[in-house]
């Protein structure tokens, strides 16, 4: 409980320190990007894959921003994710707050998977999907971004958007499944038998 509120505080602090932009500008820029990928009759499956790739590339870069800024803000209590489930707290209370200004609720589904529940979708404020694009995963960049972040710090994960406001759902649900840890360099030194 106390850990949870300290994460909320850290998230609020990080949000207050980070530079802001107009949310309309952000939403529209993302809209143009998706629309550009969708033009020339590209099948939605390919657009989904491109959005995920873009997200991953963003995540690989943002994770260092996240770690460096949070350790500057709380130098005495480094927020280290020791287990996979810990990452849900870091993403929902600090990461999302820091970069999107929102927080998410977490539903732990099992030891190796959790769902992030966002009450609104900042990427899709004005969006209505046409029927020809009903299979478009509009917010896939978010899934890719979370995946890129977690993979950069050694967690193998699979991230999927389960619910989205553009599909008529109440909010957004992002399912994160852990697939184990990546091997570290030079592993296999002294081990406890």
């Amino acid at each position: 409980m106390s850990k949870s509120s300290s994460s909320t505080r850290l998230g609020d602090l990080a949000w207050s320190k980070s530079p802001k932009t107009s949310s309309s500008l952000f939403t529209l820029t993302y809209g143009v990007l998706v629309q550009h990928l969708c033009s020339s009759q590209t099948p939605s499956l390919e657009v989904n894959a491109s959005l995920r790739k873009i997200g991953q590339n963003i995540g690989i870069r943002l994770i260092d921003d996240y770690i460096s800024k949070t350790s500057l803000l709380s130098p005495n209590s480094p927020q280290q994710c020791t287990s996979f489930i810990n990452t849900s707290e870091a993403i929902s209370k600090v990461g999302l707050k820091m970069f999107l200004g929102i927080t998410a609720d977490v539903r732990v589904d099992s030891e190796n998977s959790y769902t992030l529940i966002l009450s609104s979708n900042p990427l899709a404020d004005f969006v209505e999907l046409p029927s020809s694009r009903s299979d478009l995963q509009y917010s896939n960049v978010l899934a890719g971004c979370i995946q890129g972040c977690l993979e950069s710090v050694g967690f193998e994960v699979e991230v999927t958007i389960v619910k989205d406001t553009v599909w008529g759902d109440e909010g957004v649900e992002v399912k994160v499944e852990g697939k184990g840890r990546k091997k570290e360099e030079l592993e296999g030194g002294f081990k406890d038998e």
């Binding site: 260092d64 460096s68 500057l72 030194g189 406890d192």
Partner: protein
């Protein structure tokens, strides 16, 4: 109180950035810097595995007049700040934050490649109070 130089190595151990931070920094060839960078990367990897418990690896190398302070990030980038021994709290986290702003957010920077831009170097010089 002064800093001598900063080195940064990539996830795979290659030197991707180095800069002198004092007129007293010994003038080394780029090849020598590359060798020093990858040697340190290996030393940290060895220091991690040569202890029975889980350990973040070497953080400081202390000599008579010189201290090397090391920051190993969870993503595998490592920062080495060489300073004289009067420096007690090296600004490694500040340099890491500048790295995330001025290097990683540059869309033309390729991950794990050497840093070519000047913005980051200027930022480091500002943090370390070095003006040429």
């Amino acid at each position: 109180m002064s800093y001598l130089s900063l080195l940064i190595t990539s996830r795979s151990g290659g030197l991707i950035f180095h800069t002198p931070l004092s007129p007293n920094t010994p003038p080394l060839q780029t090849n020598d810097w590359l060798r020093i960078g990858s040697t340190f990367h290996s030393l940290i990897a060895i220091s991690k595995t040569s202890v029975p418990k889980e350990c973040g690896g070497m953080e400081r190398v202390v000599c008579d007049n010189v201290v090397i302070s090391i920051l190993s990030t969870p993503t595998g980038i490592k920062f080495y700040l060489v300073s004289d021994s009067t420096i007690t709290s090296p600004p490694l986290n500040e340099i890491y934050a500048a790295w995330s702003d001025w290097v990683l957010k540059n869309p033309f920077y390729e991950i794990d490649m050497p840093v070519r831009g000047e913005r980051f170097r200027r930022e480091v010089e500002k943090i370390c109070g070095y003006s040429k």
